[in-house]
């Protein structure tokens, strides 16, 4: 994805790719479960973005992007983003020293998984005014309300909840996913993973992340990193979709010609390629911006907006070019479409990020 990579990163990238190719089968043949997660821990992937001071490898957004690109290509569906990017990022940015030391080490080791309850029903991608309320009852803090579109909650140990206290101050509160007052309603997601609503009915808070409420602004920084992760995944998925389509057109004949001889189909593939090259470059730029912490919000938002549209275009065209074959669950193209749709819908779709781009002040009104 990146034009120039250090030798170290080239090796990382190659090792990720070769492990997944050998060990992570395509959707039809796939098994889920804790085994993969343990493997990810052993490979160091769960520690990738965790600071070296907290049992991590201290990787940046660029390293995460390399991992994500491969995840996109091999359609990895473990809830990595929730635990290792979002929650690890929040703990790092907002946690106390002790919280960081303990919890990040647990994540790096694959001992505990986490989920992040950010959105709520009916407010789409806005999270600025959470309706989940933290209140004091019988000497303890409890949470009430519903969080929606929570990835990874079904199998998480802990859930971080963004909530307001009665004074309107927002904070990040941790609950035990299996504890009292916590109900997790889970359904399959469009890309064959799981998506949950977390219903909190007086759920006791295990801890609050960090002390100061003002750390809330760090959420946007953590989300920027997560957006780059999603975008890089999309680039990997788009490239794989494209590769399979090129192969298919070269193999398949119709009206006694190879499909790849039809000018209209050739040009369509070119349009796919153009989108991918532009996305790759913009996502790489966003990863560097997040790494450098410079204009990172706008960079991440731009990349997510572009990738959301391009991903759908590329996958839709791949299916069209595969004809009826593209509509079957047996081939991968449909799975790539669904993954790309899910990526678009996660943490703000293209529509949302175009509006956010305006709000971040790039477009004068």
């Amino acid at each position: 994805m990146f034009q120039e990579l250090s030798e170290e990163r080239r090796i990382l990238s190659a090792s990720i790719d070769s492990w997944l190719r050998a060990n992570y089968p395509l959707p039809a043949a796939r098994q889920h479960g804790p085994a993969n997660w343990k493997q990810f821990a052993e490979l160091g992937w769960l520690a990738l973005a965790i600071p070296s001071s907290c049992s991590g490898l201290g990787g940046s957004a660029v390293d995460l992007a390399l991992l994500a690109e491969a995840f996109g290509r091999y359609l990895v569906d473990e809830p990595y983003l929730a635990t290792a990017v979002l929650c690890a990022g929040l703990i790092e940015a907002c946690g106390s020293d002790e919280q960081r030391t303990t919890w990040l080490a647990e994540i790096a080791a694959g001992d505990r998984t986490w989920a992040f309850g950010l959105y709520e029903p009916g407010t789409q991608y806005r999270y600025g005014e959470p309706a989940v309320i933290a209140s004091e009852a019988a000497g303890r803090t409890i949470l009430s309300g519903t969080k929606s579109a929570v990835e990874g909650a079904a199998i998480a140990d802990r859930i971080i909840i963004l909530a307001s206290d009665p004074k309107g101050t927002r904070g990040l509160f941790i609950v035990d996913r299996w504890g009292e007052g916590v109900r997790v309603d889970t359904v399959g997601s469009v890309d064959g993973r799981q998506i949950s609503a977390v219903v909190l009915e007086g759920a006791p808070v295990l801890a609050r992340l960090g002390a100061a409420a003002d750390k809330i602004s760090s959420i946007d920084d953590v989300l920027a990193r997560a957006l780059v992760f999603l975008c890089a995944q999309a680039v990997g998925a788009m490239q794989a979709t494209y590769d399979q389509t090129v192969d298919y057109l070269q193999t398949r004949k119709q009206f006694s010609q190879r499909l790849s001889d039809f000018q209209v189909l050739r040009h369509r593939v070119v349009d796919m390629r153009v989108e991918i090259e532009l996305c790759r470059s913009l996502v790489a730029a966003a990863a560097r911006a997040v790494e450098a912490n410079s204009n990172h919000l706008i960079a991440a938002t731009s990349a997510k907006a572009m990738v959301g549209k391009a991903g759908r275009f590329v996958a839709q065209q791949a299916i069209q070019l595969h004809g009826g074959m593209g509509m079957t669950d047996e081939l991968c193209v449909g799975h790539y479409l669904k993954r790309l749709m899910a990526i678009d819908a996660t943490l703000g779709n293209a529509d949302f990020h175009e509006r956010r781009f305006v709000m971040l002040g790039q477009v004068a009104q």
Binding site: V187, A197, A345, D351
Partner: protein, 393 residues
């Protein structure tokens, strides 16, 4: 539409609407609005309700059990059924093989098959496509060899919607290997319970099951089930493909899809980012105008057909643009759903949890399943080729 506002048509519309509101079971319209794949029971149940009213074969002449409607009436019927979320009638009997039988069939075939198509005592499916033939239909390779009073059929058909619960299949088979691709083809009607037939389900990208592959291994088909002459099947197939293509724009159903989209968008209008509301409304407006144009061209074309004028490129235009617009509506629906487009169940989403709003049920599934709309029934590329040929020769 102005052309539909004559008093007798307004009356007809009221009659259809009244019938639907009294006879369409709510659980059926619920399922039809949320699911891309209905069961045989549901499809047959609705067909029979219409059958009892004499409306189960909307395009057929009275002689064979149709209502003998005008083009305008057919469109109004479509529109009212769509607005009421009535299940779509299975096209394979009514729109495809039925007209072939009443146009080219023997008296015995007419008697044997037509009443059961109208009543849906037979559920039909279509055996045209084959693995490897794709848009190039004439390259099919399923063989039928004459053996006494029978043909012996070997080969396979694919993308056969509803085959897993159908009774009969109509097939194109090759009876002359030596001839040019189009001239060695025969049109057969095959009872799916004949020994040697097996059906493999194909799960589509939405996770549902409508498609199948059908295998024929030494399947004996009586020659009495052949339509018309041997080796002339391509003629009957062309007739079939050109019959009643005017409603393929699906404008009536797309109007209903737009109405659903508006319901979803409205549900956000208070809590949601208000600045977005006008932009969504404008995108919906652009699509609604396109659907109006499709509807207008559909009606123009129905009337033209009724006047006996030859149709030129209109059916291809309607198929091409109708399927694209349909996909754009469903795509915008997913956009508007935002995070609610993540949750996905082939059954209805959990009710009573606001995190899984009921308006989302079935929308993403429909988007995925209708991804095929620009592929089936002559892909967009094929329609482009057809129109280009009409323009440039």
């Amino acid at each position: 539409m102005n052309l539909l506002s004559k008093p007798e048509l307004l009356e007809f519309r009221a009659e259809v609407r009244g019938f639907l509101s009294e006879n369409l079971p709510a659980e059926l319209s619920d399922r039809a609005s949320c699911h891309a794949h209905l069961s045989r029971e549901d499809i047959v149940a609705w067909h029979k309700i219409l059958y009892r009213r004499g409306w189960s074969a909307p395009s057929w002449p009275k002689e064979f059990g149709g209502p003998g409607w005008s083009g305008a009436q057919r469109y109004i019927f479509e529109e009212e059924c769509a607005a009421a979320d009535a299940p779509v009638l299975s096209p394979f009997g009514i729109t495809m093989v039925g007209p072939v039988i009443y146009t080219f069939g023997t008296p015995a075939q007419k008697q044997a098959f037509l009443p059961k198509i109208v009543s849906m005592d037979h559920v039909w499916c279509q055996g045209f496509s084959e693995p490897g033939s794709g848009s190039d239909l004439a390259s099919l390779s399923t063989r039928a060899v004459s053996d006494g009073d029978d043909y012996v059929v070997n080969g396979t058909k694919i993308w056969t919607s509803e085959a897993h619960y159908s009774d009969w299949i109509f097939c194109l088979v090759r009876t002359d290997q030596g001839a040019k691709p189009q001239s060695g083809i025969t049109f057969l009607l095959i009872d799916l319970r004949t020994p040697g037939i097996s059906v493999r389900p194909i799960i589509s990208i939405d996770g549902g099951h409508s498609l199948n592959q059908v295998f024929f291994e030494d399947v004996r088909v009586p020659k009495g089930n052949r339509i018309g002459e041997e080796n002339r099947g391509w003629t009957y197939a062309k007739f079939l493909l050109s019959y009643e293509r005017i409603l393929t724009a699906d404008a009536a159903r797309s109007k209903r899809r737009l109405a659903r989209l508006k319901e979803i968008a409205s549900s956000f209008a208070t809590g949601w980012l208000l600045t977005e509301a006008p932009c969504v409304a404008k995108r919906i407006a652009a699509l609604e105008i396109e659907v109006m144009a499709l509807e207008s061209l559909t009606i123009d074309t129905l009337l033209k057909d009724e006047r006996g004028e030859a149709l030129a490129v209109e059916p291809s235009i309607l198929k091409l643009r109708g399927s694209e617009v349909l996909q754009r509506i469903l795509e915008l629906t997913c956009d508007v759903l935002g995070p609610d487009a993540l949750a996905y169940e082939h059954r209805v989403l959990p009710k009573g949890n606001a995190a899984f709003p009921t308006y989302a049920a079935g929308r993403v599934e429909e988007y995925l399943y209708r991804r095929a709309a620009t592929i089936y029934g002559g892909s967009s590329e094929v329609q482009h080729n057809i129109i280009a040929k009409a323009i440039f020769g």
